[in-house]
Symmetry: C2
Amino acid sequence: MEGFFRSFMQVYRPMVTQLNELLAEYHLSYSLWQVIFYVQREGHSTLVEISSHYHVEKPSITRRVHRLEELNLIQVIPSENRREKVIQLTDHGAAIYQECREKITKLEHQILEGCTEQEIKNIFQALNKIQNNMISKEGNVRE
Amino acid sequence: MEGFFRSFMQVYRPMVTQLNELLAEYHLSYSLWQVIFYVQREGHSTLVEISSHYHVEKPSITRRVHRLEELNLIQVIPSENRREKVIQLTDHGAAIYQECREKITKLEHQILEGCTEQEIKNIFQALNKIQNNMISKEGNVRE
DNA sequence: GTGTATAGTTACCTAAAGTAACAGTTAACC
DNA sequence: GGTTAACTGTTACTTTAGGTAACTATACAC
């Protein structure tokens, strides 16, 4: 068990780098991608929903959303509740989502290449358990 | 396989947060811990060695080492080659390493609690393979 | 309808890393 | 053996991403 953090971190940095390189072409980064992903999956979304899903403070999400608006990937739609800002993907956003989704999935396959079915199954299970262990230990992570 | 990055990232943030909370008591962060860990394991080390091991630029390591010197955890020892700065842990550094090592190992156990032997074995194997896949794909990661 | 809670924003700060440029030292090599 | 090239570490500046505190506008409670 010792060395888990070490292994995990050693993988983390280059993984994010590769993801960001992949997304750079679209002027995106992984943190922006997270928002696109959420909105694509959930449809109409508010900033607080995104913020609490990813456990990131509201100002961070405000910034991410602003950049996505500038990139014309996300648009605001009128809401009955004038406090909240409801957003959705633009057509362009949906197209970019599709493109990135495919590339990211391909990268996922490349990165997991050589892993057995069993290893992959176990790694997903383990990540899930880890996530739950952390939730219970602290008010952290996941929706 | 799809969703691997998502799961991985969802675990990453709270994990680092917990690690940093654990280390905060010693005025450390995980990035500083990495240097302590390296020097503890390798003994006399130069900044370039650390830099290339973690694939982090030299200025970052300079900064980390300076902070560790301020904290009196690391000291410079005279080197025949006057270009390079050879460092080692101070006695205090070695003691702090020991304390942190134990706490970190404990946290590793907590976080992996509920995972089967098999899952743990596989997750280590998988992380290893991933690392290698990334090295081959790009000039990234690991020593 | 007055007070409280909520959504989003702004301004400011922090952590960590990257790039470029440079000084000092060593090695190369002709 | 003296000049050039390469290497180690540092400084200064920039970038990315997030956090906190304070504020505005709106909605809800009662």
